[in-house]
C-alpha cells in the first residue's frame, strides 16, 4: 500500500534524538485516542493520502496488529496491518503502514514494531505476509530483507507519484509439510 520510509537514510534538518533503546515503550492499539496519533504520523511521513475510513478499516478490524512506539510520552512510530483470506486460498497478513519519525530512525524501532505485528500474524495462523514498498526506499527494503521478505514482484508505477513498487513477501515455514508435499499441493 505505502512506501514505508522507516530508517530511510534521508537527509534531514531535524537532529537525531539521543536515547536508549530501553526508553522506547511499545504499546498495542488501545482505542480511539490512539487514532489521531497514528493519522498525524502517517500523514506527515508517507506520500500516499488516506481517508479516515482507511485508518478505521484497519484499526477497528485488527487492533491486535497495530502497535505504537512512544518515547517519553511522544508517539514516534507506528505500524498498521490487516490479515485475511487472500483469493480464498491463503491466509495472509498485510503490512499497510509503517512509520518512524526521522529523529528516531536507524535505532531498530521500525524493526521492533513490524516484528511484533508479524509475530501476531504468525500466531494467528497466517501463511505469509505481504506489503508494498517504493523501489527507491532502500532503508525499508533492507529492513524487510533482514526479516526474510523477498521481492516477489515489481509493480509498474504503483504509487500516485509515479514510482514503481516492490511487492515484498514473507512466507512462514510450513513445519508439518514435506517440501515434496508442498509441491504437490500447489498443483
Amino acid at each position: 500500500m505505502e512506501g514505508e520510509r522507516a530508517e530511510e537514510a534521508e537527509k534531514s534538518k531535524e537532529e537525531k534524538a539521543i536515547f536508549d533503546a530501553s526508553e522506547i515503550e511499545y504499546v498495542s492499539y488501545a482505542g480511539e485516542h490512539h487514532l489521531p496519533l497514528i493519522m498525524s504520523l502517517v500523514d506527515q511521513e508517507l506520500s500516499e493520502p488516506y481517508s479516515i475510513f482507511t485508518y478505521r478499516y484497519f484499526v477497528y478490524l485488527w487492533p491486535q496488529l497495530c502497535f505504537l512506539a512512544f518515547h517519553r510520552g511522544r508517539c514516534v512510530g507506528t505500524v498498521v496491518c490487516k490479515m485475511g483470506e487472500h483469493r480464498n486460498t491463503t491466509f495472509r497478513g498485510y503490512i499497510a503502514m509503517l512509520v518512524v519519525i526521522n529523529p528516531y530512525r536507524g535505532k531498530g524501532i521500525a524493526t521492533e514494531l513490524v516484528t511484533r505485528s508479524i509475530r501476531v500474524m504468525m500466531e494467528s495462523g497466517c501463511e505469509e505476509v505481504t506489503l508494498e514498498a517504493e523501489v527507491t526506499n532502500k532503508g525499508a527494503l533492507a529492513l524487510y530483507g533482514r526479516l526474510g521478505f523477498i521481492r516477489a514482484k515489481r509493480l509498474f508505477r504503483y504509487y500516485l507519484n509515479g514510482v514503481d513498487a516492490f511487492r515484498l513477501k514473507l512466507r512462514f515455514p510450513q513445519l508439518d509439510m514435506h517440501p515434496a508435499y508442498i509441491a504437490v499441493q500447489n498443483e
Partner: protein, 734 residues
C-alpha cells in the same frame, strides 16, 4: 472535522446512478425479501455517530475504504485545487485569448511557446500521466472552434488532437495492461475533430504559406517582398520566426504520418514510415537548434532554469491550466505532475522515433525464434508504452502473425516441420488450437513493460505445461494406434512429437526469460543470486538440450527430404560431433552460471559469507517463493530445494577452480564469434559474456588462492558491470 467533510464519495459510478433510480418500483419484493423503510434507522444512526465514524458492513473492504475520498481535503479532492470551475470561466478571465496578441510579433512568439509547451505536455502524457492534465490543459485544444481566426495555431491544435486520438487508439487496441488505463482515459475531451484528412490539408496549407513568407524575406528583390505579407512586423526576425514555426509544423506532419503508416495492415507501411521517421528526427533537430534564436527573442532574459523550462524561449506559455480538467479526471486522489522540460521532451521523442524505427527495420521474419530474439533486443532499450503498443499490433493482427501467417504455420515452422505440414489436419485439434492461442498471448506479453511481462510469463508457464500434457496424452492414446497402423512418416504422430519437443523448448525459453528479467527488475537481493544462478543453470541445461533435439530432428527431416532426391546421406554422419552454434551459445552461458554458482557456494561454505539468518523463515521458504511458478510447471522436473542444497554443499575453494568454468565460457565465447559474424546483437552479447567470464576467472583464482590461506581477509561483492544479469565478482581485502 464536520460531517460534510467526512462524507464518503464512493468510486463506483453505479452507486451514484443507483441513488437516482426509484428502487421500490423497479425491484419487487420476493418470497425471501421484503422492503423496509430504513429512514428511522439511518436517522438514529446519524444521531449516534460521531464525526468521522462509519457503519461497517461486511462488504466494506480495503478497496472500498481506499476508494473513499474526503471531500475538501486537498490531498484527495482533485476538485479542490482548480482555479476555475469551467473552461468558459477561464476564457472569460482571459486565460486563452484569441488572437493571443494584437502585436503580430508577440502573437508569433506566444504561438511558438504554446507549441513547445504542448510538446512537453505530450511527452509527459506518454510517460504516464493523464491526457486531461497534460495536453488538454491547453485551453486552445479544449475549444477547437475558437482558434479558427489564427490559422497557424488552429492547424497545430488540430494535428495535436488527431495525433492524440491516433495514439490513444494504438494503445487501447494493444491493451498493454497495467499502464494503459490512465493513459487512454479521454473521457470528455474533444479528441474527435474533423478527421485526419482535414487536419493534414490545413497543416499543408499553413506550411505552404509560411514557406512563401520565408522565401519572400530571403529574396533580394524588394519587389517580391511586397507581394507577400510578412509573418510579423520585425523584419530582422522574420526568417528566424518562419523557420521556427516551419520545423514545428513539419515535425507534427511527419510524426502523424509515421503513426498512420505503422498502423497499415501486415506491416505494409513500414518502409514509408521509416522515411517519415527520418524526416521527423531531422525536424526535431531543427526545433532544437531554433532555441538559440528563440532565447534571444525573449526580452528581459529567462528566469526559469534550463532543466525546468517547457519552451525553447524559456517564457511561460499562455493558455494553459493543468487544473481545468481535474473534474473529468479519475475518481482518485490527484496525481502530482512533474512536467517534462522542453529538452527532455525532445529527447523523449527522439527515443520514441528511434524505437519505432527499430520496429520498422524488422524484416517480419516468419521464424518465431528470430522474432523473439528481435523483441528481446527491442525491450533491452526500455521502450515506452507507445512504441511497445505499435510493436504488439504489428506482431499480432487478426489472430495471425503480422496479420499474415496463421499460428499453426508459425508453430510448425518453429518445430522444424516441413512447409507442407502447415495445412495438416491436426491444427483443428483442440489442444493445438489452444497452443496457437498461447503463442499469441506470449507475443503480446513480450511486448509489455518488463514488470508485467515477468509476472505474466511466469503464470503462463503452467498453461504451457497443461497443453504439453494434453498433447502428449492425446498422442499416446489416440494417435499411438494411427502410428502403428500406417507407419506414415509424415503422419500425425511425428508432427505431434516434433511439436512437443519445440513446446518444451519454448517453455524453457520462457522460464529463462522469467529468471533473467528478475535481475533487470532488481527482484533478487545479493544473498539470493546464489540460488537464482543455480536454478538458471538447471533451466539452461534443459533449454540447450531441447534446442539441440529440435535442431537435430529438423536437420534429419531436411536431410531425408533431400535424400529422397539425391540419396546422399554422408552429411548425417558428422552430426554427432557438430553442435549447432545456437546450442553452443547456450552452453557458454551454462558454463558461466555454473561458475557463478560454484563461486557463491564456495564463499558460503568456507566463509559463511553471503549467508543471512532470518527470524521468521529459512532459505528454503525463500527458494520456494522465488521459483514457485517454475516448480508448479515442473520446470525442470525433479528440481527441489534439497537438490539445490545437495549439489552446492561440496563446493570449496580447493575444488572449484579446476576445471575453471569461467575459462571454458570465455573460450567458447571467443570461438563462437565466427559463427555469428553477421549477427550484431549476438556478437555484442558474446562480448559481454566473454568479459564477465574473463573477470570472474581472475577473481576466482584470487579468491581460491587467498581464501585457502586467510579466508577472512577477503571481501567479495557481485556487481553488474559487464552484463545486466551475469554478475562480476569484485574482490577486496577486508
Amino acid at each position: 472535522m464536520d460531517w460534510n467533510s467526512t462524507l464518503a464519495e464512493q468510486a463506483e459510478p453505479s452507486m451514484s446512478r443507483r441513488s437516482s433510480l426509484p428502487l421500490s418500483s423497479t425491484i419487487p419484493a420476493s418470497p425471501n425479501t421484503v422492503w423496509v423503510d430504513a429512514t428511522p434507522l439511518l436517522q438514529a444512526a446519524c444521531t449516534d455517530l460521531l464525526d468521522g465514524e462509519l457503519i461497517h458492513g461486511e462488504n466494506f473492504n480495503l478497496f472500498a475504504a481506499m476508494s473513499a475520498l474526503e471531500i475538501m481535503d486537498p490531498k484527495m479532492d482533485s476538485g479542490m485545487i482548480c482555479k476555475y470551475y469551467s473552461v468558459d470561466e477561464a476564457i472569460e478571465d482571459g486565460v486563452g485569448p484569441v488572437p493571443i496578441s494584437f502585436d503580430r510579433t508577440t502573437d508569433v512568439q506566444c504561438t511558438l511557446d504554446i507549441m513547445d509547451h504542448l510538446l512537453a505536455c505530450e511527452a509527459t502524457w506518454h510517460k504516464g500521466h493523464s491526457l486531461a492534465q497534460t495536453v488538454f490543459s491547453c485551453i486552445y485544444l479544449l475549444r477547437p472552434e475558437r482558434t479558427v481566426p489564427s490559422p497557424i495555431l488552429h492547424s497545430y491544435c488540430k494535428i495535436i488532437r488527431a495525433t492524440c486520438k491516433a495514439i490513444v487508439s494504438v494503445v487501447s487496441d494493444a491493451r498493454t495492461h497495467e499502464e494503459e488505463d490512465l493513459f487512454t482515459m479521454a473521457y470528455g475531451l474533444p479528441l474527435d475533430g474533423d478527421g485526419d484528412e482535414k487536419s493534414l490539408s490545413l497543416l499543408n496549407a499553413v506550411e505552404e504559406n509560411l514557406c512563401r513568407q520565408l522565401r519572400a524575406c530571403k529574396a533580394q528583390s524588394s519587389r517580391r517582398k511586397q507581394d507577400m505579407e510578412p509573418l510579423q512586423s520585425d523584419i530582422d526576425m522574420e526568417e528566424g520566426y518562419c523557420k521556427a514555426l516551419l520545423c514545428r509544423l513539419r515535425f507534427r506532419k511527419h510524426f502523424f504520418h509515421v503513426l498512420a503508416c505503422m498502423r497499415r495492415p501486415q506491416g505494409k507501411g513500414l518502409e514509408l514510415a521509416r522515411k517519415h521517421i527520418a524526416s521527423s528526427i531531422s525536424e526535431l533537430e531543427c526545433i532544437r537548434k531554433s532555441a538559440d534564436f528563440l532565447i534571444s527573442t525573449a526580452s528581459g532574459g529567462c528566469s526559469i532554469g534550463i532543466e525546468d523550462r517547457t519552451t525553447a524561449s524559456g517564457r511561460q506559455p499562455i493558455g494553459f491550466d493543468a487544473s481545468l480538467n481535474s473534474r473529468v479526471s479519475a475518481p482518485a486522489p490527484p496525481r502530482s505532475i512533474k512536467m517534462l522540460s522542453w529538452n527532455k521532451a525532445i529527447e523523449y521523442f527522439e527515443k520514441l522515433l528511434r524505437d519505432l524505427d527499430f520496429i520498422c527495420s524488422y524484416s517480419l521474419d516468419p521464424s518465431l525464434e528470430v522474432l523473439l530474439r528481435f523483441v528481446t533486443q527491442f525491450q533491452s532499450s526500455r521502450p515506452d508504452l507507445v512504441a511497445r503498443s505499435h510493436l504488439q499490433l504489428l506482431l499480432v493482427q487478426e489472430g495471425r502473425l503480422y496479420g499474415r501467417d496463421p499460428m499453426f504455420a508459425v508453430i510448425t515452422r518453429a518445430a522444424g516441420l516441413p512447409e507442407t505440414t502447415k495445412n495438416h489436419d491436426i491444427q483443428r485439434y483442440e489442444s493445438v488450437m489452444q497452443l496457437g492461442q498461447l503463442v499469441i498471448n506470449m507475443l503480446k506479453i513480450v511486448c509489455t513493460n518488463t514488470a508485467w511481462q515477468r509476472r505474466k510469463l511466469g503464470k503462463s508457464l503452467q498453461d504451457w505445461r497443461v497443453i504439453y500434457v494434453q498433447l502428449e496424452l492425446a498422442f499416446t492414446n489416440k494417435f499411438g494406434e494411427v502410428l502403428a497402423a500406417s507407419k506414415d512418416e509424415n503422419g500425425v504422430a511425428r508432427v505431434v512429437k516434433q511439436i512437443l519437443i519445440w513446446l518444451e523448448e519454448q517453455a524453457y525459453w520462457i522460464a529463462f526469460r522469467f529468471l533473467m528479467l528478475g535481475f533487470e527488475l532488481e527482484l533478487y537481493s545479493p544473498s539470493e543470486f546464489f540460488m537464482v544462478y543455480w536454478y538458471l543453470y538447471a533451466v539452461l541445461v534443459k533449454l540447450a538440450e531441447k534446442t539441440d533435439s529440435r535442431m537435430e530432428i529438423t536437420e534429419i527431416t531436411a536431410a531425408k527430404r533431400k535424400g529422397k532426391k539425391r540419396k546422399d546421406s554422408s552429411k548425417d554422419v558428422g552430426r554427432e560431433t557438430r553442435i549447432p552454434p545456437a546450442v553452443r551459445f547456450l552452453q557458454c552461458q551454462i558454463h558461466l552460471v555454473e561458475g557463478l554458482t560454484l563461486l557463491h557456494a564456495a564463499l558460503r561454505n568456507e566463509m559463511a559469507a553471503l549467508h543471512s539468518l532470518t527470524p521468521f523463515n529459512s532459505e528454503q521458504e525463500i527458494f520456494l517463493q522465488h521459483f514457485e511458478l517454475l516448480q508448479k510447471a515442473c520446470i525442470p522436473e525433479q528440481i527441489t530445494y534439497h537438490s539445490f542444497k545437495e549439489s552446492t554443499s561440496y563446493a570449496r575453494f580447493s575444488n572449484i577452480a579446476t576445471p575453471n568454468c569461467f575459462q571454458q565460457a570465455q573460450k567458447m565465447a571467443k570461438e563462437l564469434r565466427s559463427s555469428f559474424s553477421n549477427d550484431h546483437d549476438r556478437l555484442a552479447e558474446l562480448r559481454r559474456l566473454e568479459q564477465v567470464a574473463e573477470h570472474n576467472s581472475v577473481a576466482m583464482n584470487v579468491i581460491c588462492q587467498l581464501g585457502a590461506v586467510e579466508p577472512n581477509s577477503l571481501k567479495v561483492s557481485f556487481e553488474f558491470v559487464h552484463h545486466p544479469c551475469y554478475a562480476t565478482a569484485v574482490v577486496r581485502r577486508a
